[in-house]
Symmetry: C2
DNA sequence: TCTTTAAGTAAGTAATCACTTACATGCGCC
DNA sequence: GGCGCATGTAAGTGATTACTTACTTAAAGA
């Protein structure tokens, strides 16, 4: 037999580059030519890895979720073995959207008529929500605090806080200082966790 | 002198149709041909009213802000002469995004590299924020309540709440019932206003 | 009635872009 | 070595789309 296929490996190698391109440029302006250029390959190579441009975008959405959760887990368990929501809030207040990944969602939100894109986004938001809610429940049970807002609603509101923070950052309609306060104070208020 | 120009009038007549098209289809899929079709005119008519497609979109953004504020004021002063934030929250929990206008923002958020679009969105968010903060300050001063979160941060968080609610609605990742609770309970918690 | 110009019609155009096709190259096992 | 297939290059193509141009119609004041 001849050479073994490296397609799966190449997909994994190029996905971060593709995801970043979608985040920076949006679905429309991230042309296949531009994606190929950034990846250092020709267009048809990309079409050997994914069926079409939409498949590239859907893969990028998933990548954003995976890498964000990865970073959060890393941050939250840095000081101790236990996950700390406060540490995540602290981290996000400093670095929110640093990788620009969140912007990939905005471009999808204007393509919701496509069922595949809608489902991919819905699943992603639900996964984020489930993750945050779980951490909320955990941190509330250990601290004994009981938020005034139930953890599910609080988790949604926290996602909303992150979203508007990103929007404010990207549009420049809120100072970096104000944005940090928003994430930190707003986040703690919503999470209902005790001050550190 | 021959006929008097009706251009300004026609702009006002067609703007709601144009705005709705952008909201429903997004910037990209709302082609000039489709815009003209919905308006019942030919494309070059639109180009006599606006310089280019971007100008149509920018006008639509402004229209969304104006009409939203208009509806809010109507709702909030329906029962009494005084503006009531609680009534707006109640209204939004029922009708949020009913006109689909909010989606016009998402498409702009993936075009932030364009300075005109970025500035238009930034100004819009700041105007919304200023409006909500003002109402918060007013309702807190009359009720005597003092929120734990300062009114500026609370206003941003409320916008975030509205944004994530719309996203949840459009993607279908939260039930209508859950969404209503989110707006109502989350909104009241953030506003720090007394229960009715 | 005649002139002027706003308002509308119809067709076209240059550019862009997702996606394809045809072909060259070289790795790795027989 | 030589065969088979993964990998790469280069060019093209049909469809879409923002925007234009050339022309017709008709309103209204002189």
């Amino acid at each position: 037999m001849p050479r073994v296929s490296r397609i799966e490996q190449q997909r994994q190698d190029l996905l971060p580059i593709v995801a970043r391109a979608f985040s920076e440029l949006g679905l429309h302006r991230a042309t296949t030519a531009e994606l190929a250029r950034r990846c250092g390959v020709r267009e048809n190579i990309l079409y050997r890895l994914w069926d079409d441009k939409k498949a590239m975008y859907l893969a990028a959405i998933r990548y954003v979720y995976d890498s964000t959760i990865h970073i959060w887990l890393q941050q939250a368990t840095k000081k101790s073995d236990e996950f700390s929501l406060a540490d995540v809030l602290e981290y996000e207040s400093q670095h929110l959207g640093e990788f620009g990944h969140y912007r990939i969602l905005f471009t999808g939100l204007s393509e919701l008529d496509d069922p595949d894109i809608r489902h991919a986004l819905a699943r992603m938001y639900q996964d984020f929500h489930a993750f945050i809610k779980r951490q909320l429940d955990q941190s509330r049970s250990t601290s004994g605090a009981k938020g005034e807002l139930n953890s599910s609603l609080a988790a949604w509101a926290l996602i909303g806080l992150g979203t508007i923070s990103t929007i404010a950052r990207e549009t420049g309609c809120l100072s970096p200082r104000g944005r940090r306060r928003l994430i930190k104070e707003g986040g703690r208020y919503l999470a209902g966790v005790a001050e550190k």
